[in-house]
Amino acid sequence: MDNLFNRKYTVQGLFLIVCLILVGKLFYMQIVSDKYFLLSNSNVLRKIYTFPARGVIFDRKGRVLVQNEPVYDLMVIPNQVKEFDTLDLCNTIGIDTAGFRKRFHKAVVQSRYQPSTFEKQLSVQTYAALQEKLSNFPGFLVQGRTVRHYPDSVAGQFFGYVKEVSPKDIEDSEGYYRPGDYIGKSGVEKQYNDILRGERGVKNMLYDARNVPQGSYQEGKFDTLARSGEKVVSSLDMEIQKLGEQLMQNKVGSIVAIEPATGEVLAFVSSPGYDPNRMVGRQQGNNYMDIFGQANRPFLVRPISGYYSPGSSFKPLDALIGLQEGVITPDMTFNCPGGYWAGNHFVRCEHVDGTISLRRGLARSCNTYACYVFQKLMTQTRFKNQKLAYDEWESKVRKFGIGQKLDIDMPYERKGILFTSDEYTKRFGKYWRYTTVISLAIGQGEMSATPLQMANIMAIIANKGYYIKPHLIKSIGDKKIIKKDYVQKNYVDIDAAHFEPVIDGMQDAVNSPWGTANASRIPNVLMCGKTGTVQNPHGKNHSVFIGFAPRDNPKIAIAVVVENAGYGGAYAAPIASYLTEKYLTGNISGGRMAQVEWMKKQSVLPEVPKPKIKLAPKTTDSVAKEAAPTAADPKKNTAANHLKSGETTK
């Protein structure tokens, strides 16, 4: 048997080898690979998210502008779905069976064991109908969340809209966002997204093999509660915002109103706008495409990204800089023979006023006066050459915010246009002089400003020399935090005393019979302002008005631009006057109410034929009478046009 005894080792060896194979495989599974560890966690661990409500936005008087409305997402856990009446579910949530299959397949691809969204944002009604039957649909569950609701449907572009995060947002957020989260995509929602969004809550739940929850993971050590976004108080006044939007119906343009003392934006109208409620809910995508395709680009935020030549509304700055530099005094007069010769071309006035001083020059919007002041500024002897004089002038103008971003708390602000002397040298060669750029004196040429910048200039004049950065959000959270930037005064380096004569002129522009905007005088309120008519290379001139009121201790500075609406006195000035009156007195005095209603109905969209505008003065007697003096303005526009074309040809 001895020879067979050795077979013991063969048998034992075989046992050993086989057991080593087992250990080898175990070594691979338990030590080398972490695949099984991860699989086991995904088996039992489910993260249940609760979505926070975004912060509510109030207007300056505490009225709710943006609130939240509950919606319900239908979720599905594919591996829990058992046979059920598919058709019933489809009918309840309003989809067809093909749509059902598509959604279900998508969910299966995402995860078999984790809930994925089946249908988003069911309305309360659908949810109620579904809730009763939910037990018939094993594997389906409903997750509540909130979406935005705008009770007054105002200020669409101001708020911007909120949307589910895109894959790119998720990538950019470096892990903060998950599919299904919401993010502000424009306007205040974008600018203040981090404050408004709140914090998502998460519950780490353990599930057993039958998918019955078995309590929280590690006694909820890693769980968090959802935290709503911070409350935000906006600077808007809901009433004048609403009125502004109504007045701008069927018109293209902007309104910006600022409280001079604080820089708070009271009204922020961009027309055409859209109902912000359309950018919420299941139709968001379709509505977006619809609004996107409409005429005149409703998504364009004109108050901060629309460029307009300031035109005559720039003239107060001429006077202010002239006074500060000492080249003119309030009483200094020039002769207006109906125009100004700049070298070999003529800047025409719409009047022949003869001797004209600062106050009357502004009230009458005298181009000649403005050109003389500009000439004096450019030819000061203290500068070695006119280029240096221009540099000084440009820096002063820039202080008023033209060609500069004002850092408003809204995305996509543009800075406008103001040339440096170098840029002129590049354009005109070495030998340009003040006559070459004389159109700057009357706010034309290489100068563009946004409506926000125009309103801010009015705030500066109202404050007699400084402004606070305009902003849309007054305070944040329960503690009413105000950003430091928004209490700091930015001085424009013009002595307060120099503002008085300029304000006098602007007062006359509205309140004297010879003023260009006297049709827009507000009973019992002394509004100071300046009309402007801005040449538009693409069509009819734009109507511009800037102003502030009341004269003493001003409460509102305003800029109104109505595109293609002709002279400033026709549309922009009355609209500004209605808003100002409404804001200051709380209502609109007697006879003017009819004008407001008339104005709301006016359509000056680019397609609309001109005669409609000419009908304007006929609707009420008072308007007809008062409108007469302003009739001179349209011709002034053409003069400006001629000037412009004359310049470019020479």
Partner: protein, 421 residues
């Protein structure tokens, strides 16, 4: 029995083996407790629960084992034909009156007690085979003795196949080892292993790869033995037989095996991935074991175990609990204990004077080995799902007692190794 006799008797018992036995039973109890642990009802000595029952089974098993030690060693040899005949009868009876459990007609219910004759058949066969070898001392060089041994093993195997209980039937292949030890040609072992390898290859590779591969291997051996004509002839025959075998497997597989068995095999070989279907058990078991990592998630902390992800976890898949809660360390300890036990039993077998005891020892080691290999192999996905328990560890009285009896009969024989049986 006098005092001195009794002292001598206890002195002779291999207590190391008993210790390993008790260690494995304890590990079994702890992990059964973990796999049916419920935080709301965590009474360690709840005898209504399965771990409570297992505790009773273990105690009764120990008593059973100790009483076997008190029997006369000659008893087993003498009564082996009767035990064998009795098990055959029971196997026949189970075919007639057996209860269906999980598709198999494996159980006979006697009151509340359920008897699984296939468990008894293992040591009945082991006893008779040992008796046969001890009595006739065949060297398995002639056809007659091989046939006779084959008959002893084959009869119960056939009946068990008819139940059908493939798992238990497979275990009967373990008698190959004692026969090999007693003289059966090594070729049988090689052929046996070759058949298994070919069987698996058949599923993994298409015929147009396997057949040329077999021919290539054949040619290689012919080239190696080109001087020996006789060898060349046998190799050619072997090659042809191997190819025939492949076709036969294909035929049996497609015509004879039931669909669920087919899917099980296919999933094990990675041909089908269907985590929720027949592969679900294995998949979850592998997740449990793999997630244990080096040191395990800790006692009662395995999430796969606690939350019932692994079906049949206290019985056939008990190893997944060990893997998850005790990690690689725990697995290695358990496998190490088995290896130690197997090698120990073989060593003990070799020190027997009586052929009966030696053959029986080999039978015990081989049966335990097959169970361990198939069971653990199944839980880690290298063997198809074959429902056989892990010796001493899996939940269940029937399985625990039959292994206890199997092992303790050998310990009794060993304690008596100086005497002649």
């Amino acid at each position: 029995m006098s005092n001195t006799q009794s002292n001598r008797f206890f002195f002779n018992v291999d207590w190391i083996t008993v210790l390993i036995y008790m260690a494995l039973c304890t590990i079994g109890f702890v992990n059964i407790y973990a796999s049916i642990y419920n935080p709301e009802k965590s009474d360690l000595f709840n005898f209504g629960s399965n771990y409570g029952k297992q505790l009773i089974y273990i105690i009764l098993g120990l008593i059973l084992g100790l009483s076997i030690l008190l029997l006369d060693a000659k008893f087993f040899s003498v009564f082996s034909p009767i035990v064998y005949g009795l098990t055959l009868l029971l196997l026949l009876a189970v075919l007639v009156i057996g209860r269906k459990v999980a598709g198999n007609q494996a159980w006979i219910a006697i009151g509340s007690f359920r008897l699984q004759p296939s468990e008894l058949a293992k040591f009945g066969t082991a006893l008779l085979l040992s008796r046969y070898v001890a009595t006739f001392n065949p060297k398995f060089k002639d056809f007659k003795s091989i046939m006779f041994a084959g008959l002893i093993v084959g009869l119960p195997l056939l009946f068990i196949m008819l139940q059908p209980d493939t798992g238990s039937a497979l275990v009967f292949l373990s008698f190959m080892f004692p026969l090999y030890r007693e003289g059966l040609s090594g070729y049988f072992l090689v052929i046996f292993l070759g058949l298994i390898v070919l069987f698996i290859a058949h599923f993994l590779l298409p015929l147009y790869i396997t057949i040329p591969a077999i021919i290539l291997v054949g040619c290689f051996f012919i080239y190696q033995n080109k001087r020996k004509q006789k060898m060349m002839f046998s190799i050619t025959i072997a090659t042809i037989l191997a190819i025939c075998y492949l076709f036969m497997v294909k035929l049996i597989y497609n015509k004879v095996l039931e669909p669920h068995q087919r899917t099980r095999i296919e999933i094990m070989l990675g041909l089908k991935t269907d985590p929720k279907g027949a592969g679900y058990n294995v998949n979850q078991s592998m997740i449990a074991i793999g997630s244990g990592q080096a040191l395990g998630r800790g006692f009662l902390l395995g999430t796969q175990t606690k939350y019932g992800y692994v079906p049949a976890q206290s019985t056939d898949f008990i190893f997944s609990t060990i893997g998850e809660e005790w990690g690689f360390a725990g697995c290695t300890v358990v496998i190490g204990l088995y290896v130690f036990l197997l090698l120990r039993v073989i060593n003990l077998a070799e020190r027997q004077r009586s052929t009966f005891s030696r053959v029986y020892g080999y039978c015990v080691a081989s049966i335990i080995f097959f169970h361990v290999f198939i069971n653990i192999g199944m839980t880690i996905g290298i063997i198809p799902v074959i429902g056989i328990p892990l010796p001493f560890i899996s939940y269940g009285g029937s399985s625990l007692w039959s292994f206890t009896v199997l092992l303790f009969i050998f310990l009794k024989l060993d304690s008596n190794r100086m005497g002649f049986i």
